[in-house]
C-alpha cells in the first residue's frame, strides 16, 4: 500500500494549485471566537446584574402580607427570562472557551464555576454602577410585551383584588387621594390614611407599588407605598399618553412636605 503516495499527493496539490490558508484567516477566526465569547460574557454579566436588581427589589420583607408563601412568592416573582438568558449565555461562553486553542484542556467542572463566579462579580459591578436599573427602565419603557416575557413583577403586583396594585401616579388630588393608572390602563382612586407607610415620596409621573385593600372597582386603600422598582419603567409610557397625563411635559420638581414632588400645570 501507499505506493507512490507522496508523488500523487504533491501532484494533487500542484494540479489543483492548493496553497496554505493565510495566517490572517486563522487569526480572524480566533478574534471572532474571543469577541463573541467576551460579548456573551458581558451580556451574561448584565443578565446577572438584572437578577441581582430584581432579587434585591423583590420586597422580601412584605411577602407574608401578600397572601403568598415564600416558595409561591419566589415562583411568582422569579425573572425567568433573565434566568434563561443567563443560562443561554453561559452555554455560549462555555462553547467559545471550549473552542479556543487551549480551551479543551479545561473541564466543564472548572470552566462553569469560573463563568458563574466572574459573572456574579461583574454583574455586581454592573448593578452597583446602575446599569441594571437603567436597562430595566429602558426595556420597560420601549420594548413591546416587556411585562409578559421579561418581568413577572408587573403582573404579580397587578392584582388589586389580592391587595397588590402597581401603576403610575397620574395625579395628586390632595393629601388623602392620588390617582394611579394600572397596567390595564384603569384609573384607581387610591386613598392615603395616617397609617399608610410611605417608603418613598408620592410623585406625579413616577411608578409605585402599593399594598392595600380594594374597596371597589376603582377605589383602593393604601397600607404601604413603595417605589416602582423592577418593571416600573413600563408605566412611564403613560407619561407620553395625553389621555392619562396630559400635562406631564410641564411638570416640574418642587419641594413638598414629604420631599421633592412634581407639580404639574393644569
Amino acid at each position: 500500500m501507499l505506493d507512490n503516495f507522496d508523488q500523487k499527493l504533491l501532484d494533487k496539490i500542484k494540479n489543483e494549485q492548493l496553497t496554505p490558508k493565510p495566517r490572517w484567516h486563522f487569526l480572524l477566526k480566533d478574534y471572532v471566537l474571543w469577541s463573541a465569547g467576551l460579548l456573551a460574557f458581558a451580556f451574561g454579566s448584565l443578565a446577572t446584574s438584572m437578577l441581582i436588581y430584581v432579587g434585591l427589589n423583590n420586597n422580601w420583607e412584605v411577602y407574608d402580607r401578600l397572601n403568598s408563601s415564600l416558595i409561591g412568592f419566589i415562583l411568582l416573582t422569579l425573572p425567568y427570562f433573565w434566568v434563561a438568558f443567563f443560562a443561554l449565555l453561559v452555554v455560549v461562553v462555555y462553547y467559545n472557551v471550549h473552542h479556543t486553542k487551549k480551551g479543551y484542556k479545561y473541564p466543564l467542572a472548572y470552566i462553569l464555576p469560573v463563568i458563574f463566579v466572574s459573572s456574579i462579580f461583574f454583574g455586581g459591578i454592573f448593578y452597583r454602577a446602575g446599569f441594571a436599573e437603567m436597562v430595566d427602565g429602558i426595556l420597560g419603557e420601549t420594548v413591546p410585551y416587556y411585562d409578559r416575557f421579561a418581568n413577572p413583577h408587573v403582573h404579580f403586583w397587578s392584582h388589586p383584588e389580592y391587595g397588590r396594585l402597581m401603576g403610575i401616579v397620574a395625579e395628586k388630588k390632595d393629601m388623602e387621594m392620588i390617582i394611579v393608572i394600572d397596567i390595564e390602563k384603569q384609573a384607581w382612586n387610591v386613598r392615603l390614611t395616617e397609617e399608610t407607610e410611605m417608603e418613598c415620596p408620592v410623585e406625579v409621573g413616577f411608578p409605585a407599588r402599593i399594598i392595600g385593600k380594594m374597596l371597589s372597582e376603582s377605589e383602593f386603600e393604601a397600607f404601604r407605598i413603595m417605589p416602582g422598582g423592577p418593571g416600573g419603567g413600563m408605566f412611564k409610557r403613560y407619561r407620553r399618553d395625553p389621555r392619562f397625563m396630559p400635562h406631564f411635559e410641564q411638570c416640574q420638581p418642587v419641594p413638598g412636605p414629604m420631599g421633592p414632588e412634581m407639580r404639574c400645570m393644569e
Binding site: M1, F5, D6, K12, I13, P20, K21, K102, P107
Partner: protein, 199 residues
C-alpha cells in the same frame, strides 16, 4: 532559511513548517515522516479498507498542508497531525454513518507484552495467541475506549499528547483510559475464560 536534503531529514517538524510555506515541495518531508504512522493509526481506529484508509490519509495531508498557518507552536506537531487524522476519521464515520469495526489492528510482540503486563492479564506463553486475543478484544471495545487504548499502547502517546489529539482535558483522558482498561480486561477475561480452564 535554507537546508540541504540531509538536514531536512533530521530537522524538527516545527522547523520544516516555514520551509514548506516558502516552498511546497518541502511538504514531502512531512509526508515521508508521517504517512506510515498515520496510515497505521487510521487503520487501527477505523473499519476502512486499505484503499479507503489511503484516501482518508490523503485528505489528512491535504488538511495539514492547507492549515499549516494554523499550527500552534505550543503544541507538538505530531499531536497536531494526529488530531487532524482523528477528526478526519470521525468525519468519515459520519459520512458513512457506520460504527467502526476494526479489521486491521497490527500489533507487534512488544506492544502485546506491554498491554498484557500493563493490564495484568494472564500471560499466554504463545505470543501469537496473546496477540490475537488482544486484537480481538480491541475490536470488541467501544470506539471511545478503543481509540485511547490505541493511542496509549499502540501509538505510545503520553496522556498530554492524547489530550491534545482528542481535545479532551487530561483528567478526562486519564479516567477514559482507566475505564477502557477495565472494559478491556473484562472483555478479555470473558473471551479467554475457557483457556484458563484448559490451561
Amino acid at each position: 532559511m535554507h537546508m540541504d536534503p540531509q538536514e531536512m531529514d533530521t530537522a524538527k517538524d516545527e522547523e520544516l513548517i516555514p520551509l514548506i510555506l516558502s516552498n511546497q515541495d518541502h511538504f514531502i518531508y512531512v509526508v515521508k515522516r508521517y504517512k506510515e504512522k498515520l496510515y497505521r493509526y487510521i487503520m487501527r481506529i477505523s473499519d476502512f479498507s486499505p484503499e479507503e484508509a489511503e484516501d482518508v490519509l490523503q485528505d489528512v495531508f491535504l488538511k495539514v498542508y492547507l492549515n499549516l498557518n494554523e499550527f500552534d507552536t505550543g503544541l507538538k506537531f505530531s499531536s497536531w497531525i494526529y488530531r487532524i487524522a482523528h477528526n478526519q476519521v470521525i468525519n468519515e464515520f459520519r459520512k458513512k454513518k457506520a460504527r467502526p469495526q476494526h479489521n486491521a489492528i497490527d500489533l507487534d510482540d512488544d506492544m502485546a507484552r506491554q498491554i498484557a503486563s500493563n493490564l495484568d492479564i494472564e500471560k499466554e506463553t504463545d505470543q501469537i495467541i496473546l496477540k490475537e486475543s488482544i486484537v480481538r478484544t480491541l475490536r470488541e471495545l467501544d470506539a471511545k475506549y478503543r481509540e485511547v487504548m490505541v493511542l496509549r499502547f499502540l501509538e505510545e502517546k503520553s496522556y498530554e499528547e492524547i489530550s491534545d489529539i482528542i481535545k479532551r482535558p487530561s483528567g478526562t483522558v486519564s479516567s477514559l483510559l482507566n475505564q477502557a482498561k477495565k472494559e478491556f480486561k473484562k472483555v478479555y477475561l470473558r473471551d479467554n475464560k475457557h483457556k484458563s480452564y484448559v490451561g
